[in-house]
Amino acid sequence: MRRLSLAIAAFVALAGCGGGGASAADRKLVVFAATSLTDSFERIGRDFEASHEGIDVEFQFAGSQQLVAQLDQGAAADVLVTADEVTMTRAVDGRLVTGEPVEIARNLLTIVVPRGNPMTITGLADLALSGVEVVLAAPEVPAGRYSRLALARAGVSLRPVSEEPSVKAVLSKVELGEADAGVVYVSDVKGRSAVEPVGIDPAHNVEATYLAATTAAAASGDAASTFLGVLTEEDAQRHLTDAGFLAA
């Protein structure tokens, strides 16, 4: 019995020391960010934790519209980063964020197809060909809005086979080979071996704007502002451009 309690005590102590150096005294910074920012923000978060002792960054990635809806329903977050102005405006109008939103990155759209491009898609016009199953983000998702704008600019009218709740879900359907094509951000395709991008005519392409703001409900206001400041600095911007984004 003695041995067992010693073992349990040791285990609890070890568990307390785990978690990347986070301890009960660390302040938590919760960042709600659009799904397209997943990889780059996780790197930015690790850098931030390393250079800011005592702050533990926690991310929640989802479609921007989902994040704003959650904030509206009382979710606790300190920073909100959306993939377009429309969802950020919703947050501003709903008094869910404080201060002026800051632009932290931009992005362009691309068509994504399974590796090998089995349907030989060459541009937006090909997406409307019969037999091509296209997946788009739902209209209320920023990527969904941008995709439809690009299609309208190209004069292409198409009916997708499914409207996904986030841009990553669009990518997944194409990666799984379920859809013949999808429209996602340039950054989403970078480094994914199961898919390849097909360019969109620059005249039709839409530039996405990523905006960041501190939330009204922020528990650690100064940590949130610090994080916001870091996002526009060189190191964070490098992570973003490495991931395929355009600098702010």
Partner: protein, 250 residues
């Protein structure tokens, strides 16, 4: 006391839903094409899934409840797995089975059949998650009654199908109704497997639960609330209508 608290867990959300619903907008919401589409798709698919669950589930329940063979417990475990599997996982599994690159992908392709992204796909997803409810209910019912009734019928000269139709089925009818109601309710409320396997397209695969979810996140929570209320209606009606046969009424 504890029972009262437990009951509150159910009462409060339902009452809140009915009280907070923006009833004045209900005309507008119901009039929208996408709402009508969602209702139509939900009703069509959930009823089809229930029918399939009955047609496939009764024989399956019979085999599990009345026969024995090596590996029967494995079959039973696998058949009831969808009940404990997270629905999205079920959806992914269905994609890996019947999707383009799935196990049956090439054969379905060759036959010109496409299941994901179609209304049929919604039915498949719902049947996958809901049939186990029917199988479990029916297996219990088939096990529990006295086999001597059937034996008596047999000695009087009735054939197997006649015995099943005239003796077995009437005896298990209440369980069948209860099982069917449960199955239909599960199929109607299905979300995770549907959105993953069949996708989401208003007019083709967007069921009421999907419509409510997307309405909630597009900044139209009032629409989501009304769609949820619409979902409540058939559920309550059926529960009321079948309470005598399911033994829920005293």
């Amino acid at each position: 006391m504890l029972a009262a608290v437990a009951a509150l867990l159910f009462f409060v959300p339902i009452v809140a839903l009915l009280v907070d619903a923006p009833w004045s907008s209900i005309g507008a919401v119901v009039g929208e094409t996408s709402t009508g589409d969602a209702i139509r798709i939900s009703m069509l698919t959930s009823l089809a899934a229930t029918a399939l669950s009955i047609v496939g589930g009764i024989p399956l329940a019979w085999v599990l409840g009345r026969t024995d063979f090596p590996g029967i417990s494995i079959v039973r475990a696998v058949v009831t797995l969808p009940m404990v599997l997270p629905p999205v996982v079920g959806g992914v599994a269905l994609l890996l089975a019947f999707g383009r690159r799935g196990m049956f992908g090439p054969s379905l392709d060759a036959a010109g059949i496409r299941i994901p992204f179609t209304t049929a796909g919604v039915v498949v997803a719902q049947t996958f998650v809901a049939m186990p409810f029917l199988v479990v209910t029916m297996e219990a019912a088939l096990r529990s009654f006295d086999a001597r009734y059937e034996e008596a019928a047999a000695t009087l000269g009735a054939g197997r199908w006649m015995i099943f139709r005239r003796v077995t089925l009437p005896l298990v009818a209440p369980s069948l109704v209860a099982g069917a109601v449960l199955t239909w309710a599960r199929a109607l409320g299905e979300f995770g497997a549907t959105v993953t396997f069949a996708g989401n397209l208003p007019g083709r695969t967007q069921t009421l639960p999907l419509a409510a979810f997307f309405a909630l996140e597009s900044g139209a929570p009032e629409r989501a609330v009304l769609l949820s209320v619409i979902l409540l209606v058939p559920a309550v009606l059926v529960l009321l209508a079948t309470r005598r046969t399911t033994g829920l009424a005293r």
